[in-house]
Each structure stands twice: as structure tokens, then as C-alpha cells.
């Protein structure tokens, strides 16, 4: 299919209304990201057989890989991805780096949970949002000239969310066998937080330079799958890994589905990072813990029969998380702060010789005048068909687990997910055409 030349999009003009619209879009994307990232845990809860955590992580990453290639192909087409890479080829390195950082962080969390339990590990690695704020401030002019009220809103909101996350993590892990406390586990959890917090440097760099989030995630997935494969093979050995994968074939579908759901959340997270920056986008999407807990309690009956103090902890933690989210959502960037973002974008376009009008148009969520309109070709449909086929094959092999699920809350939460998907997806399409 020949690319269609766009003639309808006006050149980027500084527009306060549009700027506010993009800020709201970023905040909405952060909310949607939290909901979908939290829901990604649901399919994995259906897996109760004894598979190595490394193998579970690897299978999820394979699902993630398939989704990261098929969804961008379906939404924009791979021609758009290729065009983005031609404009800013240097960003492929940052996408691969971000994927590697994610894979190592994810593996560290496995060891952290094993050694110190979820209640201590989760708040430690959830500190990634604080590091994201620091990197955003130091490297990308975020929160500069934001004013004390907004600075306090973002920092205070992130801290309150960390306290809420601690309460939720303690509540969700109470009653489980206590893990052996170990300094190794603390280091692993802190390490995961540092790796995840630093992963947002490539995110922000890519979006300040005008790369489309859908293009960035396709290359991110190579780093992610490559590093995860190396870690799995070096940890288990090739033959035992293959044996474990074969023995897990009846649950591969559920894990890959978890990966697929996670990608939808991550795509929204990328748009949040693009339009409100990492200092606000990351804490907002960290509300995934709240959604994960809602699935656990309401659908899987995880805290059934526990004491009222646990429920009080859950309610208190949830309220704190919501308070933190609200504080950040109401601290959107002012015009002065946004002009500092543009200075950082100009620095990037000068350094890597990326056309300034392209960077400006993309920061404004627009296509450049005369830029080829995204279109799907045969390759894109082949990618979508191939990814769908893999999912269908594993779905046919999947065993439906014998579990007692509460279908009413499941339908309600699924409805909320699709409401956010449609609302946020339509808003992104109408405002930016997914640019």
C-alpha cells in the first residue's frame, strides 16, 4: 500500500488549549496504564503449578514481544515505525537499553520476593517513581519553574503513594508464610527500583526527540526478550529450560495473555510519559498496585476470612494511593515548565541533528505537514495474523484451571478496563492520531 501524504494537519502553533488538552490526555493515559498494568496480574494468578519464576517471566515476555509487534502494526503500520527510525536512528540504542533494564529489574524482583516477601520488596522497588522524578528534573527540565505548589503536589503525591503502596503490600502479603529476611533481598528490591527508575531516561529521551511511543516499544521488546533469554539460559541451562517450557505448555496461554494485557498498559504508560513527562506519568501508572489488589480481593477472594485490621489497611492504603494520584493529577505542567521541556527537546534535536519542526510537531502530538500518513500494508497484516495464530495455538493447548472465581466483580473490573481503553484510546486518536 502506497503511503498517503497528509495535507490536512496544520503546522504546530503554540496553543494553550491544545497544551492543556495534551496534559489531560497524559493524565488519562496514566490512569489507563495503572488499570491495565494491574490487570496483567489476573491471568498469571490462574497459574498455580510449580514452574520456575524465571520461566514464568520468560513466557510473559514472549507474549509481550508478540503484542509489542502486532499492536503497533495494527494501529499505525510498520511503515510508520521505519519512518520514525530513519528520522532518529540513535534512539534504537536507547530502546534496546530500556528493554535490557526492564528484564534485569524484573528478574531482581523474583529474588526480592523470594528473600524478603512482597510486603517489604514492593515498596522498595516502587521507589522507582522518585528516581524517575529526579532524572526528569536533572536531565529533561521537568518540574523546572513549576512553582512550589506543583512541585509539592508531585513530590508529595509520589511519597504518599509510596506509603499507600507499603500499606497495601503489607495487607496483601499478610497470612502468607514469612520469607526469610535477607540483605540480598533488600538489595535486589532496591536494585529493581533503581533499574526501573532509570529505564525512564530512554523513554523521555525518545519522546522529547519526537519518536512515536508505538515505534519505541517495538525495539524495546528486542532488548527485553534478548536479555530475558540470556538470563533464563544462563540461570537454568538450555535443555532444562526447554524441558520446563514443554511441561508448562498447558499454562503458556495464560502467561502470554498476562503479557499481552501488560503491553496495553505499557503503551498507555508511554503516552503518559510523552505528554506529562516521567515525573508525573510514572507515579500515575504506579497505581497499578491498587488495581492488582482489587483483582486479587474481589475476583480471586485473596483476603477472604482475614481480620478487619487487614481490611482497614487495604482501605487506608487505597485511599492514600488515590490521594497521591489526585495530587499529581492536579499538578499538571504550566506554560513556563513546558517551555523548559521544549528547551530540552531543542537540545536533543541539535545534538542528533533531528529536524526541529518534526520534534516540535511530535511534541505537540501532530504529524508534520507533508509527512506520510500512517497506513497498513501486507507485512502488517501478516504480523497481526502470525501473533494471533500463536495465541490461538496456545489457547487450544491451555487447560482451564479449577478455581473459584467471583464472576460479577470480574465482569465489573473488565468493564472498567474496556471503558478506560475505549475512552483513552479514542481521546488519543482524536487528539493526536496516536502520534
Amino acid at each position: 500500500m502506497l503511503p498517503v501524504i497528509s495535507t490536512t494537519t496544520p503546522p504546530a502553533i503554540p496553543d494553550v488549549t491544545r497544551s492543556k488538552k495534551l496534559q489531560l490526555l497524559g493524565i488519562l493515559s496514566g490512569f489507563a496504564a495503572g488499570a491495565w498494568l494491574g490487570a496483567a496480574e489476573a491471568p498469571t494468578k490462574l497459574v498455580s503449578i510449580g514452574i520456575s519464576p524465571m520461566v514464568i517471566s520468560l513466557i510473559m515476555v514472549i507474549g509481550v514481544f508478540l503484542a509489542r509487534w502486532s499492536l503497533p502494526a495494527l494501529i499505525l503500520g510498520t511503515a510508520s515505525v521505519r519512518a520514525d527510525v530513519r528520522r532518529a536512528p540513535h534512539l534504537v540504542i536507547w530502546a534496546l537499553l530500556a528493554g535490557c533494564l526492564w528484564a534485569v529489574a524484573n528478574t531482581l524482583t523474583i529474588y526480592a520476593i523470594r528473600d524478603i516477601g512482597l510486603s517489604i520488596a514492593f515498596p522498595l522497588w516502587n521507589s522507582n517513581s522518585l528516581l524517575g522524578i529526579l532524572w526528569g528534573f536533572l536531565f529533561f527540565n521537568e518540574l523546572r519553574q513549576a512553582g512550589w505548589r506543583r512541585l509539592a503536589g508531585v513530590l508529595g503525591g509520589a511519597l504518599v503513594m509510596c506509603v499507600g503502596a507499603t500499606m497495601l503490600a503489607i495487607a496483601s502479603s499478610s497470612g502468607h508464610a514469612s520469607a526469610a529476611h535477607s540483605l540480598n533481598g533488600v538489595w535486589a528490591a532496591l536494585g529493581a527500583g533503581i533499574l526501573w527508575g532509570t529505564m525512564y531516561i530512554p523513554y523521555r529521551k525518545a519522546y522529547l526527540t519526537g519518536m512515536n511511543p508505538l515505534s519505541f516499544v517495538t525495539f524495546f521488546s528486542f532488548g527485553e526478550l534478548g536479555m530475558m533469554s540470556i538470563l533464563s539460559v544462563s540461570s537454568l541451562g538450555l535443555a532444562p529450560l526447554w524441558h520446563e517450557l514443554l511441561s508448562a505448555r498447558s499454562v503458556i496461554f495464560w502467561l502470554m495473555l498476562g503479557g499481552f494485557v501488560w503491553v496495553i498498559g505499557d503503551i498507555f504508560q508511554q503516552y503518559a510519559a510523552k505528554y506529562v513527562g516521567i515525573s508525573r506519568g510514572i507515579p500515575l501508572s504506579n497505581s497499578n498496585q491498587l488495581w492488582g489488589l482489587l483483582w486479587g480481593i474481589l475476583v480471586f477472594g485473596e483476603l477472604h476470612g482475614r481480620g478487619s485490621s487487614i481490611y482497614l489497611e487495604v482501605i487506608g492504603g487505597s485511599l492514600l494511593m488515590m490521594l497521591g494520584v489526585a495530587a499529581i493529577a492536579f499538578s499538571s505542567a504550566t506554560g513556563q515548565e513546558q517551555s523548559r521541556w521544549k528547551e530540552a527537546a531543542t537540545r536533543e534535536s541539535d545534538r542528533y541533528n533531528v529536524a526541529a519542526d518534526f520534534v516540535e510537531a511530535r511534541m505537540d502530538g501532530r504529524q508534520l505537514l507533508g509527512e506520510a500518513k500512517p497506513s497498513r500494508g501486507v507485512l502488517d497484516w501478516l504480523l497481526v495474523i502470525a501473533a494471533t495464530s500463536v495465541f490461538v495455538i496456545f489457547a487450544a493447548m491451555a487447560r482451564v484451571p479449577q478455581m473459584s472465581l467471583h464472576w460479577g466483580p470480574a465482569a465489573l473490573l473488565t468493564g472498567a478496563l474496556f471503558f478506560l481503553l475505549i475512552t483513552c484510546g479514542l481521546s488519543l486518536w482524536r487528539t493526536t492520531r496516536f502520534n
Binding site: 530513519r86 540513535h90 536507547w94 537499553l97 530500556a98 538489595w187 536494585g191 533499574l195 541533528n353 533531528v354
Partner: protein
Amino acid sequence: MPGSSANQPTTSRLASILTDIHFWVPVAVLMGGLLLLRFIR
């Protein structure tokens, strides 16, 4: 595509990447993470 990164010489682009602190901070953190993982395992 005038002024695009595609027209930047590869050596110049490589030099820009290798002198960019945004490159070295994630690389250093990744190396630290891999060392930590090795130490824990």
C-alpha cells in the same frame, strides 16, 4: 529529508551517543544491575 538524523555521518552520531550522559547513566545502572544479579545468584 533535510536536517534529519539520517543525514548525520555515522561516526558523528556515534560520537554524539558516546559523549551523551543519557547513554552512560542507563549503561552504568544496567552493569550494576547485572553485577548485583550475579552476586545474588
